[in-house]
């Protein structure tokens, strides 16, 4: 009796939470298929029954701005490029740094390994607003303001702590005896890293990649302040659309289009993560 009550409560709680999470999404999804009539009739959710679906909202994404389309394709590509580049660089640098922190003892003044790791992650504690002006001046003085190189550099700095933090944790789960066995087996440090340690940290790489993509794809503050005309990224573009007199359906379609990559990434990576390889690996 008490058990069924507990299960019931659990479902109620989960249900409420799902509504909270899914409702805005659903709202955007239905709106993106509506036209003038559909939107002004209030909240309707069931296509064909409650409103007549149209593809007009989505079509505007692909139409030339001169013919009533919206300017989203270029920022989209720019965001893909910046996200891919900064994620890749952050993964390479951060993974190597994390391996070093996990396997060797360092001393920087009074700081030891754990302090250095903490120093890395502490970079994320600062709100971006604090960094925006220094970054602005830095990029301006090096003529990197509003360039891909500049923004990728800033993004990489932003992502590095995450990668280091995640990967140090994963590397620490790989017993040091594996490195030692590899070295005795004839590996140099690089071979040890790439052939023995890294392959056992696949899930860590997946987590780090996922976080990097999420953070850099949806980053708004630096995109807004450090790039304006030459480089236009997606998040500020969508927000600016919002303030223009843009029809709701186009807006909804562009918003959904901008989260689409994250959904795809999450879907694939989640499947990989849930295979539970990690737990079995080091028995």
């Amino acid at each position: 009796m008490r058990l069924s009550l507990y299960i019931g409560l659990k479902w109620v709680a989960l249900g409420l939470w799902s509504i909270f999470v899914v409702a805005p999404f659903l709202w955007a999804l239905t709106t993106s298929f509506k036209s003038d009539n559909g939107v002004t009739q209030g909240a309707t959710y069931i296509p064909w029954l409650e409103y007549e679906p149209t593809l007009e909202g989505w079509a505007t994404l692909f139409r030339d701005p001169a013919q009533g389309g919206i300017e989203i394709q270029e920022p989209y590509l720019a965001s893909v490029l910046v996200t891919a580049a900064s994620t890749f660089i952050a993964l390479v640098l951060g993974t190597l740094a994390a391996y070093g922190l996990s396997r060797f003892s360092f001393r920087a003044g009074p700081m030891k390994n754990s302090d250095i790791s903490f120093f890395f992650i502490s970079q994320r504690v600062m709100p971006p607003a604090v960094l925006a002006i220094p970054y602005f001046l830095l990029l301006q003085n090096t003529a990197l303001l509003d360039t891909y190189i500049g923004i990728v550099m800033v993004y990489t700095t932003m992502l590095l702590p995450i990668v280091v933090w995640v990967m140090v944790d994963f590397f620490n789960t790989v017993p040091i005896e594996l490195d030692e066995a590899a070295m005795i087996d004839g590996c140099n440090p690089m071979q040890t890293f790439f052939r023995i340690v890294l392959p056992n940290c696949g899930p860590g790489l997946v987590v780090a990649t996922l976080l990097c993509i999420i953070f850099s794809w949806s980053e708004f503050f630096f995109a807004m302040t450090l790039s304006f005309s030459n480089v236009q990224l997606l998040p500020p573009t969508v927000v600016i659309l919002n303030s223009n007199k843009m029809p709701w359906w186009s807006l909804s379609a562009s918003a959904l289009a901008s989260v689409l990559p994250l959904i795809i990434v999450a879907f694939f990576l989640e499947r990989y993560l849930s295979r539970g390889r990690l737990a079995r690996a080091f028995k």
Partner: protein
Amino acid sequence: MAQITIDKIEKRFSVTKALSAIDLTVRDREFVVLVGPSGSGKSTLLRIIAGLDFPSEGTIAIDGKPMMGVAPKDRDVAMVFQSHALYPHMTVYDNLAFNLRIRGIAREQIDVKVKEVAARLEIIELLKRRPHQMSGGQRQRVAIGRALVRDPRVFLFDEPLSNLDAELRARLRTEIKRLHRELQRTSVYVTHDQIEAMTLADRVVVLRGGRIEQVGAPDELYARPANIFVGGFIGSPAMNLVPANGADGSLALDGGERFAASTPVRGPLIAGMRPEDLMVVPVGTAGSFHARVNLTEPTGADTLLLCSIGAKLDLCVRVSRHMRAVEGDVLTLRPRDGSLHLFDIESGQRLN
């Protein structure tokens, strides 16, 4: 050919001194076992030989070639770890083949070698498995196989059997011994287990607190321990170490018993008597003393009698299971001729 020369090695970890003044030569084809209590520096010494750690002082050489600055991969040593340290993401086959691949051996040769070793260790049917799909004993077998495929100059073992149950440990112990007989490779083997030490070793090195207490063949260590520590450490059940007083031609044990024995010194000393060296003899036999049985522990072939002399002293006596003794019996005991070990009470060094 592989002779390991360890010369005045010292190892410090910030404050702790893990090894001091280690001098040891492991001869070609010799099987040397390092034993000692936990923290005595066995693994550290092994890791220094492997090149995974570096001595703070002193040098080590293999075949006369100094190993200073030589990476583990260039030392031509193979090591079996206590935790097996198999690569979890590889099959058994790949685990065995990995070190040959890294060294650029041709694929066909690798295949031949891996199959040969797998056959020898009876792990052919496991070749396609991953480490997590095997039992502890199978994993340890593969770990040994990984060392074997290399055909290295030196084998290093760090407690390879300590995670296994007793029966499996005994089986693999025999197998390691057989492998050494066949392959005749210089080996250094670390263990806690005295039976492993006694059965495998050509020579045993007893370590305590980072120092070598004694080096010798197993029976030598057993028959003539150089000091109290080795006497108490080697042998199970442990040697009885009894405070005593030496006088002309006799020994007075703490607890009031006195018996005739030849002793090189007068005054306080420690008398060591192995449980199996104490014989039960008729009352009145020359050189005998009395002890009261407190507890009997049958172990199968033998029975252990835990006795006391006077109020406090505990004495373990090993007798055949045919001897019937019950609690409260008073036994007349005499140490077997030449089996008495006498140690200095201050330094702990052997006196006779």
